[in-house]
Amino acid sequence: MTVTTDPVALNQWVPCAWDGQIPVGGSLDTMIFGQPIHVQRTGEDSYRVAAVDGTTERELPVQVRYTCVFTTLGDTPRPLPEIAEFDEADRRITGCGNVGVNTSPYRLVENFLDMAHFAFIHTDVLGALDQTEVLAYRTEHRKEVDEIWAIDCTFYQPAASKAATGGQLTRYVYRVMSPFSVMLYKNVVTDPSRNDAICVFIQPKRETECLAYMPMAIVDEVSTVGDLIDFQQSIFLQDRVILENQRPALLPLDPTSELPTRADASSIAYRRWLKAMDIRFGILEKQAA
């Protein structure tokens, strides 16, 4: 495809590498929204990103946060979200590299928001086949930050995290921070007063070709970084199978094309929000009758 002309998509910060992926002095060729880009690591903490068109380069803004290198093609991008947990001293901050997923970025966000699949796809870990009900929860459009939140979510989980030693009723809060990023807060197994923060930032290479980055800020004094990553990747590779089998891969925003249930309230709120911002990239155009 050619580069998207969708101004909403262009004005988002998206990840284009994970911090540490490129050795100092090295570089990486990748793509965002159909635009080839060149990511150079110029120093320990400094990167240069440029859009490449043939032999000409246009330098793009860059920032390194949440274990990722972010860039944007837009002139007035929506700011990156603030996630306070990443600044807490005792948190285990780790990325999980990135994982390729061939579907539209919105399918990834919706899968992340969905609790109904836990028992069936993450059986014995994030859900159990005898406790599949998604209890009622609430969704909010927080206008001051223009984010979609799902609150008061609970789900029975046999092994909610690497630190878990038994089943628990896990409390979740979901937060859609941009069309291409989403996170959750789930109560820490060992300290119910605190929440683990787990994010997904999506690099849309093309409309149905994405890289998913999963930075986490975890409260866990015991597990190794390898343990934490292995747990998260194992979950995500289970999701990847169903994600790549969803049809159509592009997201329909017409409310009659896919029928939601009450458990999909967060997804409904997300789709309405996408529709209101008139995003076009990766969206299934409604066919004429």
Partner: protein
């Protein structure tokens, strides 16, 4: 008789060993490897354990073994009193070895396609998929002939380490953008394999095969 496995959940090769340990009912200590993104298997420390920089590695009673296929042979040789997982008779031993080498050889093209699609490895994806399809074709043809002969497993009347070695990268094909549609005999065989006692799935193996 402590067994230790240097393991990574998403590795299909480690999964071969985990399956075999499960089928044989063996307890083991798991050493978590940060394969991706940490590339711990290529660290100088791990090269002391396996100079090839590959997982899995299995340790037992002073033995240190690399290569999933070699480890399957060792586990069946040392821990399977029935002798069925690694049959020693002339009729079955050679064919089991042959399909074991196939699992560690031609079939690994499907692993390459998966590493490309999921973990961003830079390689010729079309070439990897073409080779994987060619390998699937060979195994599917073999299993079709076995079905016609009234048999279910790759060699003999019971599952062997050849089935264990071949299953992961056939079942994980979807992770590398390879469908099972063209391989009906592989699908039948995978369904039978999944029904074995103590079978455990891993991430990326669809429920609907």
């Amino acid at each position: 008789m402590a067994i230790r496995l240097y393991d990574y959940s998403l590795s299909g090769s480690c999964y071969k060993v985990r399956l075999m340990l499960g089928f044989l009912g063996l307890e083991y200590e798991r050493v978590q490897m940060n394969f991706y993104p940490g590339r711990q298997h290529r660290s100088p420390e791990f090269r002391e354990i396996n100079p090839l920089g590959q997982i899995p590695v299995l340790e037992e009673d002073g033995l240190r073994l690399r290569d999933a296929q070699a480890i399957l042979c060792h586990l069946a040789n040392s821990h399977d009193a029935s002798g069925e997982w690694l049959p020693r008779d002339a009729e079955r031993f050679g064919p089991v070895m042959m399909w074991l080498m196939f699992a560690g050889g031609e079939l690994m093209a499907a692993s390459a396609a998966r590493l490309h699609d999921a973990l961003g490895y830079e390689l010729d994806i079309e070439e990897a998929r073409r080779k994987a399809r060619a390998a699937f074709r060979v195994l599917d043809d073999h299993l079709t002939a076995r079905e016609i002969a009234g048999a279910r497993w790759i060699v003999g009347d019971t599952p062997t380490i050849a089935d264990v070695a071949c299953f992961p990268y056939v079942a994980l094909a979807g992770d590398g953008g390879l469908g099972h549609e063209e391989y009906p005999a592989l699908r039948n065989w995978m369904r039978d394999f999944r029904r074995l006692p103590r079978f455990r799935a891993m991430s990326g193996i669809p429920e609907f095969i």
